[in-house]
Subunit: 375 residues, 2 copies
C-alpha cells in the first residue's frame, strides 16, 4: 500500500509517497533520473542498512550512482562536511541535471538538501527519510541548512525536493529513543493544528511506540498532510508556517544551551511544547486542563516534559539569537486551544521568565535525564 | 539624472537605478529599510572611497548600520570569508528583516549576495555596484556564488536583490585595467544580443575608455536593459539566459588554468568571446569579416584577443568541469551573426581543438600580457 500526497507550491508541486517497501521500487526514482546520474548522500549509520537497496533501485532505472557517506550526527551539519559533498559531486562531474538523493534522517536531509540547493546554484534532489522525525518534519517543506557556532540552522536555503519517499518500513531499525523523538513532532502537529488528531494520538500513542505499521502509516500521513497544507500556503515562512514552530523557540534554546547532540531535537521540542502550553496558560489563553493534556501525552510518549536546569537568563539570551526574533522582541507560538496555535509578539518577558522557572528541572531535583527514557 | 529600469520576474520585480551621485541619496535606500538595520558589506579597496557616504545615506533614513569589510580580490569568494560575514551578522543580531548592502565590485556582490541568500535561509539585499563589470553584469540577474578549488562559482544561489543602485560616478576611481575588463561584458551584450548596440560601441569605444559620463550611462543602461530582458525571460538559466555566457566557457577555463586573479574575469571573457567567434566561423555559421569585427573591437578596448598558452588538452579538461556541461558533451554559445548568439551542444571536438590552437598565444611568441595593457 502506497499513499501519495501532493504538496502544491506556487512554482511547482511535488509528491510525498508513504508506505512500506518503497525504497526498493525503481518507479519512485525513475521520473527524476533524466540526468542519468544520481549521487546518494547518506551517513555511516544508514549506509549499511539501506544504501545498497536504494542503489539497486536507482541502477535498475539505468542511471549511474555515486555514493557519498558522511559521519553520523548533528555535528555533520557544518561547512567542512558540506564541502566534502560538493567536492565529491565535482569530482564525479555531476552537472545541473544530476540528482542528489538524501537517504537518512534529518541531518542528512538538511545537509544533502543544502548541498543540492547551492551546488552549481541548485540541482534537483529527492528526500528518502529513514527516521520518523525526518518523515513527518524535515522532509516536508524544503527547509535545508547547516549549523553555525552561534546558532542552529543559521545558514541554509529553501529548496523543494522533487519528491519524498517515506518508507515506514525503515522505522523498524530506529532506536526507541529516536522513535520517541520523532513522535514529538507528530504530537506537535496535533497540538498546534488538529484537535481530532491530538485525540487520536491520546488513544493510539502506545500503538505507535509499539511500531505498529498501520498506526505509523496513519500518523506519518496525517502529519505530512497537516504540514503540507501549511507549507503550501506559506512557502517562505512569513505567515502561518510559523505555527509549525510550536515549542521550537524553547527547544532550540535547550539544544544550543546543552550543546547540540546532547538532547535530540524532538526531545527538546517536546519539552518546549509543554513550556509553550504553560506560557499560554499563564497568558490566560488556555486553561490548566489543556496544559495537563499536553504534558500527559508527552510523558506517555516517553519524552521530557521539562527543560534542563539552565538559568532563565541563559534561556532568554539563547532565545534572542533564534531566527524567530523580529525587531528585538521574541515572538512565541502559543496555544489558543488544543489544535489551534497562534503567533504572539507582545508577550511580557515576565511571563516567559515564570514559565522558565516552572518548567525546568531544578538543579537539585532527582529526575531522569532524557537519555534514560530510552530502552 | 537617474534612469530606472525594472527587471520583471515571476515572483516580483526590482528596479535598477542608473545615474550619478545615487549612492548619496537616502531615497534609494529608504524603501528597503523597514527592518531598521542594514549590514554594509564592502572590501578594503572600496571602503575608504565610498563606505562613509553609503552609511550616511542609510542612517539618514533612520536605520542602524553595521560595517563588514572583507579582503579585496577574487580569493575572498571562499567559505572562510562567507563565514566571517555570517558571524558578524549573527553577532550584530541581524534578523530576517535586516538588509544586506553589497557595496563594491563583482566579488563583493557575489559573496555578500550569497551571504544574503543563505543567512537564516535568505534575507533581503541591495546591490550597489562600484565597478563597470558589476554594474553591467553581476548585479543584474541574482546570480551569487563563492568559488571551489575545482571550479569558479561552483557553490551559490539565485537570489534577486531588492534593487540595484548603479552610480556611474563611482567608475571614476576604477583603474583603466578594470574599466577595460568591464567593457568586455558591455561588448559581449552587443556581440551576443544587439547588432545596433555593437555598432554604437564601434563608434564610441574611445569615449567609454575616456570615461565620458554620458557614454558610460548609455552603455550601462543598454547593457542592463539587454540583460534584464533575458533574465526576466529565464530566471533559472535553463534557456535563453545561456546566451549571456558567450565567451564564458573559454573564459572560465582561462581563469581556472592561470589561477584565479591572474587574468581579470572581463579579460578572460574578452579572449573567450573572440574564441567563440572563431569557433562559430570554423563551424560555418559566420564569416571571417564578423570574426574580424569582434577581434578589432576587443583590441581597441585594450583587451586580450587570445587565450594564454595552455595546451589544448588542458583547456578541454578545464572546460569539461564547467557548469555548462550537459550530459557529458560541452555546450558552446556560438554566433549566428553579430548580435545573434545561439547555444550548440553538438559541435565536434576537433573544431574546438582547432580554435584553441588558432586563438592562444604560442609559448614562444613575444606578446604583452594582459597586465601590460593597463595604464
Amino acid at each position: 500500500m502506497t499513499e501519495t500526497l501532493r504538496v502544491a507550491l506556487a512554482e511547482r508541486a511535488y509528491p510525498i509517497h508513504i508506505g512500506t517497501g518503497l525504497i526498493d521500487e525503481p518507479a519512485h526514482y525513475r521520473p527524476h533520473l533524466s540526468g542519468g546520474r544520481a549521487a546518494i548522500v547518506t551517513d555511516q549509520t544508514v549506509a549499511p542498512l539501506y544504501l545498497a537497496r536504494v542503489r539497486r533501485a536507482i541502477e535498475a532505472s539505468g542511471a549511474q550512482t555515486i555514493e557519498i557517506v558522511i559521519e553520523p550526527g548533528e555535528a555533520a551539519k557544518r561547512w567542512a562536511i558540506l564541502d566534502q559533498v560538493i567536492d565529491r559531486l565535482l569530482a564525479a562531474r555531476c552537472d545541473r541535471q544530476s540528482l542528489v538523493v538524501a537517504l537518512g534522517g534529518g541531518v542528512v536531509g538538511d545537509l544533502a538538501g543544502f548541498a543540492a540547493a547551492v551546488y552549481q546554484r541548485g540541482v534537483p534532489y529527492l528526500q528518502v527519510p529513514t527516521t520518523l522525525l525526518a518523515q513527518v518534519d524535515s522532509s516536508v517543506g524544503g527547509k535545508t541548512a547547516i549549523n553555525h557556532a552561534r546558532g542552529k540552522n543559521m545558514v541554509g536555503a529553501f529548496h523543494q525536493p522533487q519528491a519524498v519517499i517515506a518508507d515506514v518500513g525503515t522505522l523498524a531499525t530506529l532506536s526507541v529513543r529516536e522513535l520517541r523523538a520523532g513522535l514529538a513532532e507528530v504530537i506537535k502537529h496535533g497540538v498546534a493544528l488538529d484537535a481530532p488528531f491530538f485525540s487520536w494520538l491520546e488513544a493510539n500513542v502506545e500503538r505507535l511506540l509499539g511500531c505498529e505499521p498501520e498506526a505509523l502509516t496513519y500518523a506519518v500521513r496525517r502529519s505530512c498532510e497537516l504540514k503540507a497544507a501549511i507549507v503550501a500556503a506559506d512557502e517562505r515562512e512569513s505567515g502561518p508556517r510559523a505555527l509549525l514552530n510550536l515549542g521550537h523557540t524553547f527547544g532550540h534554546a535547550i539544544e544550543a544551551g546543552m550543546g547540540y547532540g546532547e538532547w535530540l531535537h524532538g526531545e527538546a521540542v517536546a519539552a518546549g511544547m509543554v513550556m509553550a502550553a504553560e506560557l499560554s496558560a499563564r497568558a490566560g489563553m488556555i486553561g490548566a486542563g489543556e496544559v495537563r493534556r499536553v504534558r500527559e501525552l508527552v510523558a506517555r510518549a516517553g519524552l521530557p516534559t521539562e527543560g534542563p536546569a539552565l538559568a532563565p537568563e541563559r534561556y532568554l539570551e539563547l532565545m534572542a539569537v533564534d531566527k524567530k526574533v523580529s525587531r528585538g522582541s521574541i515572538r512565541f507560538v502559543v496555544l489558543e486551544a488544543i489544535g489551534q496555535a497562534a503567533v504572539r509578539g507582545e508577550l511580557r518577558e515576565e511571563l516567559v521568565r515564570q514559565t522558565l522557572i516552572a518548567c525546568t528541572t531544578s538543579a537539585t531535583a532527582a529526575r531522569p535525564s532524557p537519555c534514560s527514557s530510552g530502552p
